[in-house]
Symmetry: C2
Subunit: 347 residues, 2 copies
């Protein structure tokens, strides 16, 4: 049934009674061919069941139309949203994004990046896996392929990054808790090998400083960035002699875990302990209690990253500005009773 050998441009040419060059022109939508010829050729293309061989084409052409998206954890809905935002932009530009998952594993990431390079991608959007070594992108940069970091960045890299204003988000959230009257605060989850962590923790500490919360009343509990991690954090915190009464969590997953752990102890987030998350994933709004969280406009960041990428490809550069996305605090139930809740609006 299937013609064994796959049809090429020459088969089309034969079928349509024209030259391969003409077929190529038609394929590229050149205005140079006579409309009737084009029709004839297109018919032949249909008839022989032709599929364009982009590999062969790229051998001659400068750039391919695929860009790679390398993501550290596809299971996190947060990254899926990021991907969705990018796809919108790329689709409009006729670029196809191929996504690959590194499962937070630098070795796997290396393989995936290699594969994408071999495939001849025009650019790479990466949310680097934890523990990525500084040199991981050296070869790629050297090859002149543009790279953009999304959501995460590497400590000393010159690669442009698109990320939310983590510091300000954490600051906003912490202020909110302090204004609610809390004076013993915790920062739950995450680990210090991530730049994002440094930034969010920095915002937390900055706000504490600004409101003169004594160091002894700031509690920092590192932990997995998952529900499980959040549960563990809460346990650790409540075991202290003077436990905190409110927590800013590294991300929403951690916050959900904290809420769960509270309920297990017969406590209610919002009433007995204030919880604020980070990222404002879709679920936050529907959780019970609804989660107060820092919204980062994930899809928007994805779009931004895609735009930057397209610009870089177009201007064949490997450099671009960082981009810090605006954040906002979405106040819901988990951070306490709904008494005319005011969002901090510092400069």
């Amino acid at each position: 049934m299937a013609s064994r050998a796959k049809a090429t441009i020459l088969d089309i040419a034969r079928e349509a009674g024209v030259s391969k060059s003409t077929v190529s022109l038609v394929l590229q939508g050149s205005g140079l061919i006579r409309p009737e010829t084009a029709v004839k050729v297109r018919k032949a293309i249909e008839d022989v069941g032709y599929v364009y061989n982009r590999g062969a084409a790229n051998l001659r052409k400068a750039h391919s139309n695929v860009i790679g998206m390398v993501i550290n954890d596809l299971t996190n809905p947060f990254f899926a949203e990021l991907a969705v935002g990018m796809e919108r932009v790329f689709q409009a530009a006729g670029v196809v994004p191929f996504i690959a998952n590194t499962a937070e594993n630098p070795v796997r990431q290396e393989e995936v990046l290699k594969s994408m390079m071999e495939q001849g991608v025009a650019g790479l959007i990466v949310s680097p896996a934890r523990g990525t070594t500084p040199g991981a992108f050296r070869r790629i940069e050297a090859a002149g392929v543009p790279v953009v970091f999304a959501m995460r960045r590497l400590p000393e890299s010159r690669i442009p990054a698109i990320a939310p204003d983590n510091r300000r988000g954490a600051c906003l959230a912490t202020e909110h808790l302090i204004r609610k009257g809390h004076s013993r605060l915790a920062f739950f989850g995450g680990s210090s090998d991530l730049v994002v962590y440094q930034e969010r923790l920095g915002g937390f500490l900055g706000a504490c400083e600004a409101f003169a919360i004594p160091v002894a009343d700031r509690m920092i509990v590192e932990g997995e960035t998952s529900r499980k991690g959040g549960m563990a954090c809460l346990e650790t915190a409540l075991a202290m002699p003077e436990p905190p009464t409110a927590a800013l969590c590294f991300n929403d997953a951690v916050a959900f875990g904290v809420i769960l752990a509270l309920r297990k102890r017969g406590l209610e987030a919002g009433a007995d302990f204030a919880v604020v998350g980070f990222d404002d994933v879709a679920e936050a709004e529907h959780y019970s209690p609804a989660l107060t969280s820092v919204a980062v406009d994930t899809a928007g960041l994805g779009e931004r990253a895609a735009h930057v990428m397209l610009k870089m490809i177009q201007s064949r550069t490997t450099r671009a500005e960082d981009h810090i996305g605006a954040v906002s605090l979405v106040v819901r139930e988990s951070s306490g009773p709904d008494r005319n809740s005011q969002v901090g609006d510092a400069a």
Copy 2:
């Protein structure tokens, strides 16, 4: 800094003082070359900053090492898990899976499939978008590229599908509700244009039949397969003159919505109304109340799909058996008080 023109196999050959053929052999790890020569060549590869051009290679070689995964909704953690399962298998086989999202849009799906074909994928694993036309895969089959459906299938297609035993899962769940003493049952969410829906609904109705639940006491409410859809379903159901007391939901998202809607009305899932979900996503276990759900071993199905794909590629066929994955009911709190809950174990 970057040598402008990218290095080729010939540059390596020149650098190492051998022929391009030798370099090619080294690249393929052939045992024919003298070890010392291989070392010399590898050094040269490193020195010139070579990146392998798979496109060029595929021009000569039979097939590529990339297989495409086309998924209808990457935002659903369920599919992300599926992807993760596949990746495990493919990685071991030296195959790189590229993922693309169709956002449940058949037009987008068409584009994505075309792109993947052009890229020369060795095979395609697809969870087809709702509304995919029967002919969508004709060209792909004709080209001899193996396709496997995962989780979803098309009504009359001959393409092998890997999916859970939806009918049995729904049956098990319904039995469980009936054994709990419910006699007015609902099936919430989903829409009849999906084969999965037909199967799950079929299981529900089959169990009703088996236990002689009168038709008047079976309520079917179609709806979006999301939290929102679930909330709407519950509202519709409770507005009836003789509302049901238990519901099997099309999937977990719908079930979460139902639980939320119950709480809004001051009712508690498990106590006032029994809720069972489908898929048993990670969140089900942690929800409050914990969700009774039909576990489908998503990652396992992903692995299975990947294995089938590899087999098909290896034996260069485009046909394979369907594969129905085992399911099991995980009884938790949302389906009612914990009185020695027994899982139906029909033949």
